[in-house]
Symmetry: C2
Subunit: 197 residues, 2 copies
Amino acid sequence: MIRRGRPRDAAADLAILQAGMELFLEVGLEGASMEQIAKRAGVGKPTIYRRWSTKEELIAAAMETLIADEVGGLTAEAIATRSPYELVEAVIDTAADATTTREYRALVARVYGSAVTHPELMATYWRRYILPRRRLATALLLRAREMGTVDADADLDVAIDMMVGAVTYRVLQPEPPEADEMRRYLRAVYRQIGLLP
Amino acid sequence: MIRRGRPRDAAADLAILQAGMELFLEVGLEGASMEQIAKRAGVGKPTIYRRWSTKEELIAAAMETLIADEVGGLTAEAIATRSPYELVEAVIDTAADATTTREYRALVARVYGSAVTHPELMATYWRRYILPRRRLATALLLRAREMGTVDADADLDVAIDMMVGAVTYRVLQPEPPEADEMRRYLRAVYRQIGLLP
């Protein structure tokens, strides 16, 4: 194969990854083609194939690059020094806003939607986005368990799945909530686990 | 358009719906075409278009027809007369088996995956499969609340989302559980809500 097209550069890479992520959200992995991605990014197909040999690889790379690994202000230090109730109270508004955008719903839908047929995408999302959050959530639950608001025999991994699972399930249901309703919903979820009074 | 092809009959309809459901699970809504569905069902495209004008309608119809609306032996009568602990204990093995098949995982992935772009599919799944189960789960939680094992102020819809959300999230994660692990997982979930001691 003759390697043609523009010189490889970071701007083109980013345009390709953004186009790939957009198409993944809009039409899913099976609906997106390398041709569409190239067209939307304004590059030739060879430019893409020089970097990624399949759309699966390209979308996984887009996740690595484009999905934030920051965790909304919650830090290990804050967890060690402030009360779980106080910390959860402080993140509720941000969490309610973040989980009720159309982009968040679309990303959850597509990542879940490809989990069985393309587990490598879920694995990337897991490593890049989920795991850092789970580590902090575990630390928070351990503190709450020390303080007696979370049951001593609670399985913390299951508790995290129940919180994340409820929220991601809720946003995919018919009539997804607005931010105000999500705030009430999150309070009920955290209360059930023992992270709010 | 000239209406040709086989005479419309129930067997052809069923073959079309089954082919549609298979392709939905394998390649998703965006990956499936009416042409592929026709080919797999062994009918001409006009036979399909005579009944369904879009693949969205066809897949929704496949869900209506092919997804069971039975609820695994749990009845309103049993809920009224037996203890929640006993009933939950009795369904755990069945639930662990049912939620760890590849078919279940594939269906959850695809229904969730199409929820934002094709909410009518989730709506059909919701009405056909989810709602009958939620009604029973609510009755069970009300009984458990009467008996004091579920918190008096628990939000029951949120509690159901936490149970279903955890399980469906877990089966889409990397390294999905086998039935034995799922049994332990379900116990932890039910215990957290107050449906097992």
